[in-house]
């Protein structure tokens, strides 16, 4: 059984890392990062079956892609805390000569990153390609891809959504971070997503709902999604989260989608997040 206390401990530190990364360079995307913290911690510390050393081709491993690359702070923190690269490297986020680009990139060889993302809508297609590659290799592992809810307004997502069931790509698990917010405001005001469950079902996907802040639910739903392999259909998990989760003034608003807190608000945020593993 996973030790949820331990995951909670890690998550608190990850949230501090997120705030400290964006605050240090007065830029970056804290809102979605905070909202996906439990998900990333659960994935990297419990769920993903990964090799000890990062290898680009991910043969024999579960492979994770981040399509909404702007929530890089949470990914970088979790990768570093998991040991992919030194934790102190978080200090270079968005600075010149860093491997930790504003949006994830492969060019400088940051372990854990397999494709650049940031220009939205591309990750689901890339994940399908990886899933097909695994199928050709008789590799039993899964491919996971996280997308933003605003991101699925991109047309390419629906091209990919049509492709995967047609080609019976059932080793693929898509997760949508459904916090209801995007940079200009709530989804429903900017561009309504409508009945997401019905849309994905109509495209031929298994659809699951998940509470992105509840570890037990995350384990259960990811496990269910894995069980769907062999069914000839991909699975999408609609993950409810609260944007800005864990920092009172950031919760549930789009205001902190892509904005760093000032010094005072940084202090206020950090006072709400226990330093559990030591700041970098």
């Amino acid at each position: 059984m996973p030790d949820i206390n331990q995951l909670t401990t890690i998550a608190s530190q990850v949230r501090r890392d997120i705030i400290r990364q964006v605050s240090a360079v007065n830029s970056g995307h804290p809102g979605g990062s905070l909202g996906c913290t439990e998900f990333f911690v659960a994935m990297y510390f419990e769920i993903l079956k990964q090799a000890d050393e990062f290898q680009m081709q991910g043969k024999g491993e579960d492979v994770f892609f981040l399509s909404n690359g702007h929530i890089s702070p949470v990914w970088y923190s979790v990768l570093a805390r998991k040991g992919y690269f030194p934790v102190k490297e978080l200090n270079t986020f968005r600075k010149i000569d860093s491997r930790l680009q504003g949006h994830p990139a492969t060019e400088e060889g940051l372990p854990g990153i397999r494709v650049a993302s940031g220009s939205l809508g591309q990750g689901l297609s890339v994940a399908i390609g990886m899933a097909l590659s695994k199928r050709l290799d008789d590799d039993p592992r899964n491919v996971f891809v996280l997308m933003g809810d605003g991101e699925i307004q991109e047309g390419q997502i629906w091209e990919a959504a049509m492709f995967a069931p047609h080609h019976k790509v059932d080793n693929l698990i898509g997760i949508i971070d459904w916090n209801g917010q995007q940079i200009d405001g709530p989804n429903e005001k900017i561009m309504s997503l409508g009945d997401l469950e019905a849309k994905w079902k109509a495209f031929g996907w298994y659809v699951l709902h998940m509470d992105g802040h509840d570890y037990d639910d995350i384990f259960e739903k990811i496990d269910q999604a894995r069980q769907n392999k062999g069914g000839g259909k991909p699975t999408v998990i609609l993950m409810k989260t609260v944007m800005g989760k864990g920092v009172d003034y950031m919760e549930g608003t789009h205001e902190w989608h892509g904005k760093a807190p000032n010094e005072e608000l940084t202090e206020r945020a950090l006072s709400q997040l226990e330093e559990t593993l030591g700041d970098y």
Partner: protein
């Protein structure tokens, strides 16, 4: 000894058929080669590959952006994906997908683009892309190849499998004279001398190599000795071969089925301006869209006829000091 290094067979075959044959052959040689298509597998001549390797072919439907992303994912997993669609849909339509998921991410994806340029013919300007090489050569990490006949396209299709990193391979629709010897080796980034000559360096790519051959034949009669260098690889450019030829001839002409802006002429002008300023003339489409018509008529109308190459050569020779 002949100045010519070609073997004019009198036969016409489309460069896209060369692609189809090359893909089939490399499919047999390399298990990692996979192919994708966006509802144009017939036009791209991918049928034999599909027949022999149904599990390694992925039909994407009319969804090119998704196809490029899937190719990036397949490459990440260690495969060597060849995407096939028209040049227009292989570049402009999917520029950002190529830029982020393939070029910036350094994925070994082979973007194979047919029906490039005016010689696509009757479909008209919506499909006749003349900006594709410019777009592709601007991308860091991208290799750009525009072979000139069936044999060279086949050779290039096979050669790019061994090349680490993304490649844009551009070819066309019409039947076109076959003149590159089957035994000719193709080295990516290494120019090929088609004819030795002393009076002018004619740098040509794609279908315009054949136009250049005809122009040089005509000028032989007038005593103008044209050196034809086939630049099949637009990027990386074989600067050494370009400079060596110009050193000998003192003037240059470029010929391409592409916009003047951003194409082969621009690339060579850059090299010459920097390293050896040289009188230079350009045969290319001058800031126009094309239109419906027969391939050769269109080449004539838009300044890519044999006579345009002849005129450009005469001008360049005249300007030589």
């Amino acid at each position: 000894m002949s100045k010519w290094h070609i073997d004019i067979t009198g036969e016409k075959k489309a460069t896209r058929d060369g692609f189809g044959a090359g893909l089939h052959e490399i499919g047999h040689q390399n298990d990692n080669v996979v192919a994708l298509c966006a509802d144009l597998s017939g036009s791209l001549k991918m049928n034999k590959f599909i027949e022999d390797f149904p599990n390694r072919f992925f039909q994407c439907g009319v969804a090119e952006a998704n196809m490029m992303g899937i190719a990036a994912g397949l490459a990440t997993g260690g495969k060597i994906p060849y995407t096939g669609t028209f040049a227009n849909f292989s570049t402009g339509r999917v520029y950002d997908q190529i830029r982020q998921s393939i070029a910036y991410s350094e994925k070994t994806v082979k973007i194979c683009a047919s029906h490039a340029g005016l010689t696509l013919g009757e479909d008209g300007a919506t499909h006749q892309i003349l900006e594709d090489m410019g777009m592709m050569r601007m991308l860091p990490n991208m290799t750009v190849i525009n072979p000139c006949d069936y044999n060279q396209t086949k050779l290039a299709t096979i050669a790019i499998a061994q090349h680490e990193g993304p490649v844009y391979l551009r070819f066309g629709r019409p039947g076109w004279p076959v003149f590159i010897p089957e035994s000719q080796k193709l080295e990516i980034g290494k120019a090929l001398t088609i004819r030795d000559g002393d009076d002018v360096s004619l740098f040509a790519t794609g279908h315009m190599v054949w136009q250049s051959v005809q122009a040089a034949q005509e000028l032989e009669k007038e005593g103008i000795d044209v050196e034809i260098i086939n630049i099949h690889t637009i990027k990386p450019l074989d600067e050494e071969a370009i400079l060596a030829s110009v050193e000998k001839t003192g003037c240059a002409v470029t010929a391409e089925e592409h916009q003047l802006n951003g194409g082969l002429g621009d690339a060579i002008a850059h090299v010459l301006v920097e390293k050896r300023p040289t009188p230079m003339e350009f045969v290319a489409v001058n800031d126009h869209f094309g239109e419906s018509g027969k391939p050769l008529d269109l080449l004539e109308k838009y300044g890519l006829g044999v006579k345009h190459v002849v005129d450009a050569i005469k001008k360049a020779v005249q300007r030589r000091t």
